[in-house]
């Protein structure tokens, strides 16, 4: 079975230590977490982990089973890239001089649909949301001019198919 990119969505309680428990499952199988994001979800007091891994479907299935088994996990899903709408977010910190001296910078901002988040005396900050390759493209365009700092978030994703967490929670309660 070949390695592919998989996005794992985990709905859970928001408890101290759960991240440790979940990351341990990846550690145990020697699978690197390529990206990780934790946020609130559409359900009140339920957290959502979005984890990206590059592995086989057999392993991702296995991992999802093990993750789901954790007491504080409500449900875990895995998706291939076709099953989801996903984005990442990036910030670029650039020297202020460039904004005024290099006309090309403004074109890069415009072409990439990037936004200027802030402008200070010495630097300005650009934000860019999109797929990994779109952010990489902008990175490559800015790099020759000098990037003072760069950071990219983990992937965030919503699935095309329904994730029926509320009804699951209800089911658990009535079992």
């Amino acid at each position: 079975m070949e390695n592919k990119w998989y996005t794992i969505s985990v709905y859970s309680e928001n408890n101290v230590g759960l991240l440790n428990r979940i990351s341990g499952i990846f550690l145990k199988r020697h699978i690197n977490i390529e990206a990780l994001n934790v946020s609130k979800s559409e359900i009140n007091s339920v957290s959502k982990f979005t984890i990206v891994v590059f592995t086989t479907e057999k392993w991702v299935k296995n991992i999802v089973g093990q993750v789901e088994r954790q007491i504080e996990v409500i449900k875990a899903y895995y998706h291939s890239d076709d099953d989801i709408i996903y984005q990442e977010s990036a910030l670029f910190k650039i020297s202020s001089d460039l904004l005024f001296d290099e006309r090309q910078i403004q074109n890069i901002i415009k072409d990439n649909n990037s936004q200027i988040v802030t402008v200070a005396r010495d630097f300005f900050v650009l934000s860019k949301s999109g797929k990994r390759d779109e952010i990489d493209k902008m990175y490559n365009q800015l790099e020759p001019y000098g990037i003072m700092q760069f950071v990219r978030s983990g992937r965030i994703a919503v699935s095309k198919a329904e994730m029926r967490i509320s009804s699951l929670l209800e089911e658990f309660q009535h079992n």
């Binding site: 230590g17 341990g24 299935k61 089973g65 088994r69 996990v73 409500i74 929670l169 089911e171 309660q173």
Partner: protein, 577 residues
Amino acid sequence: METLKETKTIEKSKATIKISGAEAIIHCLLAEGVDLLYGYPGGAIMPVYDELYKFQDKLTHILTRHEQGATHAAQGYARVTGKVGVAMATSGPGATNLVTGLADAQIDSTPMVCITGQVPRHLLGTDAFQETDIIGISTPVTKWNYQVTRAEEIPKILAKAFYIARSGRPGPVLVDITKNAQFEEINFSYEACIGVRSYNPYPKIDTTQVEAAAELINSAKKPFIVFGQGVILGEAEAQLKSLIEKTGIPAAWTILGVAALNSEHSLNVGMVGMHGNYAPNLLTNECDLLIAIGMRFDDRVTGNLDTYAKQAKIIHFDIDPAEINKNVKVDVAVLGNAKDTLNLLLPLVKDNKHQSWHNVFKEKYQIEFDTLINKDIHPTKEKLTMGEVIEQINQASNNSAVIVTDVGQHQMVACRYAKFNQTKSNITSGGLGTMGFALPAAIGAKMGAMDREVVAIIGDGGYQMTIQELGVIFQHNVPVKIVVLNNDHLGMVRQWQELFFEKRYASTVMVNPDFVKIAEGYHIKSKRVSKRSELKSTIEEMLASKDPYFLEVKVEKEDNVFPMIPSGASVSDIRLK
């Protein structure tokens, strides 16, 4: 499902009293029906021990000689009673010494609650004296763990701990309680936990899967059952028996499942796995339907997965969804408690005999008996064998003893030859393979089943890993019977060195102390046997003793355990020699 309903009927205790967190812990334990726990005191857990002193008429604390012993004793107690075992330790080294027992309980699905003391809340994260991050350390080896830093959390968290430990697929839970939380006062009231929002221990049974299973069973020509500890944990022994008797399907067991079915049942065809019996291993690759009940296709059971039961359709009954298709891809998966799923299955399966298929098992057994078993249990050579010791124990105990084994050759021999006529009788470290397990586990088993004969069978290596627990046996006069099968080697490793490492016996030769004198030092009646003529009478004497008894049997030094599936080989490549 029953457990859940039961807990729902436990009434909320209405009275509220103002007590310390430490005392609250005791009340929680009592409310959960705990009357016995194992542990070791120390700085960060002292307030709880002070309360244990006050409550000693209601709650017996057994001081083991090492915290690892406390966990194994709690496991032994849990395995023989089906109740949650409880172990307690202080922070730092006390807590880290629990780790092996937690890992053992996790992999063998044993319900256990461990309570550890922790440095006061204001010192957390400061590298305080005896501070260790036991939550971080124990996370991968617990079903759940939690750090309590305020007394008011104690009742709810301990209720949740017991619920999680015993429900669904059982397992160990660790609750770490900071010292300030033990001192703080709370208004105590206790409410048993009846559910956790994100946790679904009893999956809803899909009846279409049960029907699909029945259809496969009814049309199979050469069906074969392999059952594991899930039958015992789910209390489905009667259902299993009805199933095999109705369908006439031969049934084999994993090492943890053995006592779920009477050893002398005509359809009991023995053990699967690396040192299991010849017929069930060989015929795993000839059956047309493999019905796995409450087992998890461990690598020691399956050997090489690429050649495991490829010709067969496979049905998997299990309570844990994560086990389905984990190692072996199955055709039908029936999720749920074995008792409930088998009860639904039973009316759907047809009466059958499968006589000629069963005869194949008998023929293969005869081959194994003639080449191996007979020589193991009725040897004619001068030196004693492990097998004949087990056989004598069977006879002297009428197959009714609880057999607790350690890890290694003696474990395999004991599990192959020990006979059981009741469930919850075989206590061994199956998944983790923890040497040193047996002696403390036997203490817990005996204290959990005082009316039963408990025999610990231990190798000379493992015995010395937890030998200090003889102190508990002496102090509390726990009448366990300890049999050390002494071959002056780490026998199983030596066997592998002989077979796979050209007899380079690296660090497997043991120069042993006088075990009889050690036992005598603890005032435990003891004897050493090295002649066949003395064996039977000494075992009878041991079993007749009302007191603890230590027996060292000097056995052949370089015997090997066969059959054997070499590591990585197929189950059908099982070697008889």
